[in-house]
Amino acid sequence: MILGIMISILLVGGLLCWLTAKWNIQLTKWIALLAVLIDFALISNIWSQHPTTTSTGSNAWFINFQANWIPSFGITFHLALDGLSTILLLLTFFLGILAVLCSWNEIKERIGFYYFNLLWTLAGISGVFVALDLFLFYFFWEVMLIPMFFLIGIWGDSNRRYAAYKFFIFTQAGGLLMLIAILALYFIHGAQTGTYSYDYLSLLNTKLTPSAAGWIMSGFLIAFVIKLPMVPFHNWLPDAHSEAPTAGSLILAGLLLKTGAYGIIRFVLPLFPDASAGIAWWAILFGVIGIVYGAMMAFSQTDIKRLIAYTSVSHMGFVLVGIFAFTEMAMQGVVMQIITHGISTGALFVMAGMLKERLHTRDIGRMGGLWTSMPRMGGVALLFTMASLGLPVLGNFIAEFLILMGTFLVNVPLTVIATLGLVFSALYSLRLMQKVFLGPVAVQQAVRDLSVREIVIMSVLTISIVLLGLYPQPVIDMAKTMVNDVVRR
């Protein structure tokens, strides 16, 4: 039930924000902050209550809540929480807090409706991470999509309309394929067993012919790799990321992309073990293409947010590689990558937002030498560009190292190419650093350094990424049961 409450807090909080904005804008902001804070406290509490040592594999689900919703179609309200979901919910509410904080002064129009959309997107994302009924899952998939469409379309930058539509059409096209796949699975399972159900745990036992499994899997997979995104389905991402408001980019990069990875781990691999093993080589290949292509695209960009967006494409390539390696180590790396990429790329987007606020441009050609006036931000930027090029001590290194070493055990040539991605990531990261913070001073007017609110945001992110790099064990333990279940299938 606690899971339902967490989602409701966001939904109700969103409505309250919309209503209160007419009277008191400060109240609206505080309601939004409070909603995500309460959820964060709740999930932290759950984490601490479930010591990771008890995860023996027999009972992967800490919390399992099931209620009837539409019994005649076999649709239930089934929410459940395992290690992976716990990690992802924690990430969701963590980034949720930061999203509210970094919108605090940036958003000046239609504030109530903005926070409504922000909280509803978060609610949809949390729903996606805990829904175990495929119908409900699809429902939440749409709930996170539409508010995000508004976030980009209303509060975005100059080219926001185009970006919002593009985002919507890409995801929706994938979503429809997934809906067809869900229905196909539903009917096949129903015909086999006589009970029609959307329940994940029942559907796991569906026996599919190889060709049916292949087709249905593709439906799911396409939806998820568009979200991930995998080259060549990545084109919605640079536009959406660069046009969205800061909090939008943060949520897109930090959370929405992760729903794709989550979908593959939760649904594609367990539901279609043989079919997914069959395409593993190709999936790794596409992951590697993503790593290299994303990095090369990032290198040539001049728009700072587009540049960061393409680094996401590159980093998410590692996720795809790691998932389809089917080794325990690589899968642990994927879980780490999901978190650390959320934090590090989120931080870079927040920083890009701060730069935009100060300089009114996203063009890195018009920046340069900003370290002189903003040494604090320069230091933080250095840390996070280093995170994105995979410097040890920072969490991303653990993730990429585990993925690469885990994949190396099963596929040497492709891993070698993926490892070359480390060189490419250095190329774009240092170029970003050079163009924005180093070199001759390009901006004449004084630029103010980080404010207290900004320092709070950045130091929370910094501490998390360093902690994950030096002591990633809690996350690894938390994900252990899930990882072993998925890999053993």
Binding site: K166, V231, P232, H234, N235, P238, M296, M297, F299, S300, Q301, T302, E328, M329, Q332, G369, W371, T372, P375, G379, L382, M386, L391, P392, V393, F397, I398, F401, L402, L404, M405, F408, L409, T415, V416, T419, L420, L422, V423, A426, L427, L430, R431, Q434, F437, L438, G439, P440, V441, L470, Y471, P472, Q473, I476, K480, N484
Partner: protein
């Protein structure tokens, strides 16, 4: 003593944290105390632990476990420190020379705006470098390895407002990253084979797991070698080091002479079992070293920037270390690292003092006549130069280089050709060192001297100068004195050098080496001091000018890199800036729009059109039916 090891890297780390978080608000004096103080404390601690280590040598090593870092089902790795004889030598050099350089820097950098940032980066560097040499597993070593790369990047680009400095920093990072990536693949391969990254386990298990000279072990060794070549600036990954001189001189002394650039030497020595299993990899190491020492030495002969001369000289001297490692003269390589750290750090610091006093003049041909004006710098520089040129018996460089020359022929893996190249290198070294000395310190003064260096700068110079002279006495050639303190120490960890049975006797090698050095010095003296007409003549000859330019450009490796890698990459990325795949989707979108336009023409609201359409449709269906 065991549980004190972690404090050695922790002290500079504390310095880094304080200076990076609060540095800009602290007074300069306090920054200096924190920056130099933490490293000096680490040096004192090292000496205490080192004395303990020498008095009661442990069976293997001192070890200390801090915490479990990563533990998955089949991979486990902890933050573990391990200090054996090899680590001890490196830790001593890093902290001791590091402390002297830090003290020197408190005066050298005094007027710099970013005083705190400088010491923060330097402290972080010392910490990372210590982790590198103290790590007991390769993953932790990789952490230090990347950490020193980051600090090198930060300090080369320290004066970031000049674009060239930033570009030099980027270049250093990129090129070393190529080596690092190869090394990472080497780690993956080691893990795949042995299931562990723990260094003692790897060394113990590899002899039974791998067959001598198998392709696997050679691949692993070569990948590790590539990592070492990147960090240690060996051919063809050497081009970043001359450009790295864009950083402040103490940085060049600490990072790009004494410590970081020898990380490759440490890596190979540390993984010696892997290399011994692969004779091919050993030979390649030796050849890389020999070629590098020659190419870099010849480039040093014609440079005009004082720091670039020293940079090429560093590449060349590390080439000697690689040569020694490759022929199996393990302790000779580490010994040369030991002496080189003193005299090369000294030369860079002294060069920094010269540059500073001459208002940031780098060109040696605009220096001159400093002998009497800056006596302390002159005498210390002379001591360093003599050690670099390997002046017999009175300098440390002689003892270490003589060993390498001897072993390059007579060691198990040695070869006369390697010896010839090494000897040529020794001649070249003596020559360019003499040239540097004469041009900078003799002759007439060309640039007036600003303020001469103060005591904080000269005392470290004097200490290093003394060490450049006496540090070699801990290890004498076999046929002269029975002092083998150094090799006794490191051979607790490294295998003893096996000498071939046949071959000329040692005394002949020594005489030839001494003669070569003296000949090199004489050549330099006669060309640049006694009679400079020959040089003038060469300057006029176009062929000689071409040769000079070729050498000056470091044998054109930059040009080659640009041609093969940089320009194609930049071109490839720039033509695809707007993303080729996007055109595909835009095509779909505009295609749909076109279709919409052409079909919407038919929806014009005119009844006549619709009736005509219906009629044509009926006609079409009827015709179809009639025909079928």
């Amino acid at each position: 003593m065991n549980n004190l090891i972690a404090f050695i890297p922790a002290l500079p780390l504390i310095g880094f944290l304080i200076l990076s978080l609060a540095g800009r608000r602290l007074p300069k004096q306090l920054i200096a105390w924190i920056g130099a103080g933490t490293v000096s404390l680490a040096a004192i601690l090292t000496i205490i632990i080192g004395i303990q280590f020498l008095q009661n040598p442990p069976d293997n090593a001192y070890t200390q476990t801090l915490w479990q870092w990563i533990k998955t089902e089949n991979f486990s790795c902890a933050i573990n420190f391990r200090m054996d004889a090899l680590s001890l030598v490196f830790v001593f050099i890093i902290t001791f020379v590091g402390a002297l350089i830090h003290i020197y820097s408190t005066a050298f950098m005094h007027d710099d705006r970013d005083y705190a940032r400088f010491f923060a980066s330097m402290n972080l560097f010392v910490c990372s470098m210590l982790i590198l040499v103290l790590a007991d597993n390769l993953l932790l070593m990789y952490l230090g390895w990347e950490g020193v790369g980051l600090c090198s990047y930060l300090l080369i680009g320290f004066w970031y407002e000049t674009l060239a400095n930033v570009q030099a920093a980027n270049k250093a990072f990129y090129i070393t990253r190529i080596g690092d990536t190869a090394m990472a693949i080497g780690l993956f391969l080691l893990f795949k084979e042995l299931g562990t990254l723990n260094i003692p386990d790897i060394l113990n298990n590899s002899t039974t797991h791998f067959t001598q000279g198998s392709a696997r072990i050679t691949t692993i060794a070569l990948l590790l070698l590539a990592g070492g070549m990147g960090k240690s600036a060996q051919l063809p990954l050497q081009t970043w080091l001359p450009d790295a001189m864009a950083g402040p001189s103490p940085v060049s002394a600490l990072i790009h002479a004494a410590t970081m650039v020898t990380a490759g030497v440490y890596l190979i020595a540390r993984m010696h079992t892997i290399f011994e299993l692969s004779p091919l990899a050993m030979s390649i190491t030796a050849v890389v070293g020999a070629v590098t020492l020659f190419v870099a030495g010849t480039s040093a002969m014609v440079q005009t920037d004082i720091k670039r001369i020293l940079a090429y000289s560093t590449i060349s001297q590390i080439g000697y270390m690689f040569l020694a490692l490759g022929v199996g003269a393990w302790s000779a390589a580490i010994f040369h690292f030991f002496t080189h750290a003193f005299f090369k750090a000294l030369l860079f610091l002294a060069a920094g003092a010269v540059i500073e006093s001459l208002h940031h003049e780098h060109n040696i041909f605009r220096m001159g006549g400093l002998k009497n004006r800056m006596p302390v710098v002159f005498w210390t520089f002379l001591a360093g130069s003599a050690a670099l040129a390997a002046l017999p018996f009175i300098t440390a460089g002689f003892f270490s280089k003589d060993q390498i020359l001897f072993y390059s022929w007579t060691a198990d893996n040695g070869h006369p050709i390697l010896w010839v190249v090494a000897l040529l290198g020794a001649y070249i070294t003596a020559f360019y060192t003499t040239r540097l000395m004469i041009i900078v310190f003799w002759g007439e003064m060309k640039t007036p001297i600003g303020h001469p260096p103060g005591r904080v700068m000269t005392v470290p110079l004097i200490i290093l100068a003394v060490l450049s002279v006496i540090a070699g006495f801990v290890e004498w050639p076999h046929n002269m004195m029975h002092v083998t303190l150094f090799s006794d120490l490191v051979q607790k960890v490294l295998p003893a050098t096996i000498v071939q049975e046949t071959g000329p006797s040692e005394i002949i090698f020594e005489l030839i080496a001494i003669a070569t050095t003296l000949l090199g010095i004489y050549t330099g003296y006669s060309l640049y001091y006694r009679d400079t007409r020959l040089i003038e003549q060469w300057r006029q000859m176009p062929e000689m000018r071409d040769v000079r330019n070729f050498l000056y450009k470091g044998w054109g490796f930059d040009w080659l890199n640009n041609l093969i890698f940089v320009r194609p990459f930049v071109y490839l990325t720039s033509i695809n800036k707007s993303d080729f795949f996007d055109q595909l989707y835009k095509g779909i979108a505009s295609g749909s729009r076109k279709l919409n336009e052409s079909f919407s023409v038919s929806q014009n609201g005119s009844l006549r059109w619709y009736v005509a359409g219906v009629l044509i449709g009926i006609l079409f269906i009827l015709t179809l039916q009639l025909m079928l």
